[in-house]
Symmetry: C3
Subunit: 340 residues, 3 copies
């Protein structure tokens, strides 16, 4: 059901510490912590002894002792200590998930450890890129991660869901183009000589007409980067330009729930904390508008009649290609697993 040989975002770096944290990914219980040496560790959070939550226990150096009877595991998942006994059965181990901390986020490989390939990390480098500034936040969405992805790949919803913030008629009046790009899908929309949305009026200070470029990159399994570039039209009374990247990691908690990690960075008004706070607040409110729709959409699709199929329209190009791509990849992964 889920792609496993992929990098997902498991959390923010600051969530990994001496106090273990339980988080479910792809329907599996994980314990997240940071060892004494500073590395992030992600293990299966089900003690092989009795099925208790290891996360109820304590970090000891780089290892962690289960909260029930003290079975202790090192970052490789091997049991290194069982209280009251000196022999450790071979089966006393938990699965260890390869984890990488990068740009302040922590990525986890949910598939076979041997295949974990750092070169395939999704690109969120803007989080720490000089010349860019912003912040990361977390939302829990009670909907399948694919619904969140489709929300981001068809921005015409802004006109309806976000009519008071992002929406202008322009978004539906300008067609998109969709193309394969690397392992992923890119959607582009160019809107020239339009009135800026309320968000850009407020954040970028635009008063006159603008050109507005949207470029949305989807990378499997669940990574979406929206690059939004707005600039005054040539010959206008002002000469402004502003760019945002919305960074979206949509990690499945399970089939009906998504850990939504997002960052929003801009390339102007650097160092201005008030602008950062305003942009976060506006974006957060915008996402709450999406949430209300997405969670109802999940309920409605859960009980859809037999044979119900979505009706495609011109703006669905990105959604349709992403869906097809994901189906292909899932099928390929299942086949590869069966061939082993």
């Amino acid at each position: 059901m889920f792609l496993r040989n992929e990098w997902y975002v498991a959390g923010f770096g600051h969530e990994f510490g001496e106090r273990p944290l339980q988080r479910w990914l792809l329907g599996e219980p994980l314990v997240l912590y940071r060892g004494a040496s500073g590395g992030v560790v992600i293990l299966e959070d089900r003690c092989p002894h009795r099925g208790a939550p290891i996360s109820a226990g304590e970090v000891c150096g780089d290892a962690i002792a289960c909260g029930y009877h003290g079975f202790t595991f090192d970052p490789s998942g091997a049991c290194i200590h069982i209280p009251g006994t000196s022999t450790i059965p071979r089966e006393a181990r938990v699965r260890a998930y390869p984890a990488i901390e990068r740009w302040g986020w922590v990525f986890v490989w949910m598939g076979e450890a041997a295949q974990a390939d750092q070169a395939r990390l999704p690109d969120y480098h803007w989080l720490v890129e000089p010349g860019w500034e912003g912040r990361s936040e977390y939302l829990s969405v009670k909907a399948n991660y694919g619904l969140v992805r489709d929300n981001l790949l068809d921005l015409t919803h802004a006109r309806y869901v976000h009519r008071k913030t992002l929406g202008t008629a322009a978004v539906t009046d300008h067609p998109i183009s969709t193309e394969a790009r690397g392992r992923g899908v890119r959607v582009t929309r160019v809107m020239t000589d339009i009135e800026p949305s309320p968000f850009f009026k407020r954040m970028g200070g635009f008063t006159g007409q603008v050109n507005h470029h949207q470029q949305i990159d989807f990378a499997p399994p669940c990574h979406v980067v929206i690059n939004t570039r707005v600039s005054s039209v040539t010959g206008s009374h002002e000469n402004r330009s502003a760019q945002f990247h919305v960074l979206n990691a949509l990690t499945p908690e399970n089939a009906r729930s998504t850990h939504y990690f997002w960052g929003l960075v801009r390339n102007f008004a650097l160092g201005d904390e008030a602008v950062t706070q305003m942009q976060q607040r506006l974006n957060r409110e915008t996402f709450f508008e999406d949430l209300a729709i997405l969670e109802q959409q999940q309920v409605l699709l859960d009980c859809k009649p037999a044979g119900w199929r979505p009706v495609a329209t011109r703006n669905d190009g990105g959604c349709v290609q992403a869906e097809r791509l994901m189906s292909r990849l899932i099928e390929a992964e299942i086949q590869a697993r069966n061939e082993q």
Copy 2:
């Protein structure tokens, strides 16, 4: 499981307005609204585009635009506008449910639109009949609508569930008669020369002995009209009479939950708002007593042992006949559907 070619109550007229309302009937999501021309509209609340709730959108004239990407539907369920495109695929439509506003209530036909037959509307005309006065209210009951129906068809429960309000011993001491009537079932109980119940003492001002007639009419699928007539016995020191109709529409939300629309009208103390408020309050409190039983009954029947069957008694005539009638009708409807 549910009869479909029938009229159910979908809501009160005042609930239909410019702001769309989502309500589930028979396990299906509906959007309810009132178009600019004044008519009530009931559509399937699952947008054919992506399965989003149309009810999150906005009424535009007589049409409604989905809250996600603006697909717009007219009262017939046809899509009349897709933002950003001029061609509308034929499959872009939602089911429209025939709806009739009558006596302040709105009736919906859940079956095939072509068979919607206004002549089969249940009779709640007392809601607006001159000489009658009262009010309508709504209750959500977490129990199957059949359990609510049986509650109303065997009023001996008043002695136990409502011992402080409606109950007197008389209700179990006087037998009922049950007869088929039209498409439905009628239960009659005549109690002569009895002490009036606390409700009638308080509402009708009776102090002496009374004759109390109960007549309960069940019409499929879920309509129950209770006609209660109380009058002083001949030769008593007072000469009073009072009549109530309790109007009950038990619309299934799903198999375990019921939208209970009820009205209570009387033919005396007309124009006296204090009496209206008291009668509503007393009746509401009475229904809350039923709710506590009904919701537990649902839980207990959900886990009844294999082979468990209710034990019938003399007062169950109405329940038994109604149950048989409903089984026959459901069977007939399934057969008719299969023959198509």
Copy 3:
């Protein structure tokens, strides 16, 4: 799934009164009350008439009238009155569960009444034994009763779960011995010349080294008595000794929920209410620490991967033997039922 021909604790004696109480045991709804003659009564809480909760009704002498239509049942479960009719169908009866009030607790036999054997009552006599003093309490645990049992049979968890209260390193440093005893299992641990736990320092006033004996008796289906004896080591500067019995009845509410009735009695500081209150509070807090683990353990085991098996260690002897014993008894009971 559950052993039926066994005594379970249904409640405390003071919970049985004139006001009927609904409680679910082994997934079945029961009504608990005390008849006018003073005896405790336990009946199936599903009226054979319509499936309503009898417990919503009223106790009438030694009988109880259903809260819906007044069907009245005597303590044997026979219907003795149906309002409005003089003939009572033979099938109008509910199951009556043999119940015995003893030592302030009420025991119920969940199997065939004919096999109810008072000689098999579990032994909780310390609740009223002169020379012992303490109190009983109730906890609801959202976990299978077997998980609670295993918690009590492997007290090494005290070092981790209760590190601030009961825990000392000694508990894992001293091995247990396990033996069959009667129908049950006994686990013994002797810890000599150790530092007393915070609980014993506080409750027993120990300051020097102690000998600490733990003896845990499990009796099917769900009874665990922990006998803890602490005394100053010979030649120490003090000469103290203290003994506690923790009495644990783990009654399944259903497969994922347990009624946990516990008592804690001591043989010192008799008559000192402040000590009683402190011991209850400390023990209650300790149990809450267990609850947090047990309820998560249930969730983690609910979704354990196919083929997952617990890894045994030296301290699991009691758990393993109890589990085997229960499996044998359940198998035997199923076989006996099939042979009938």
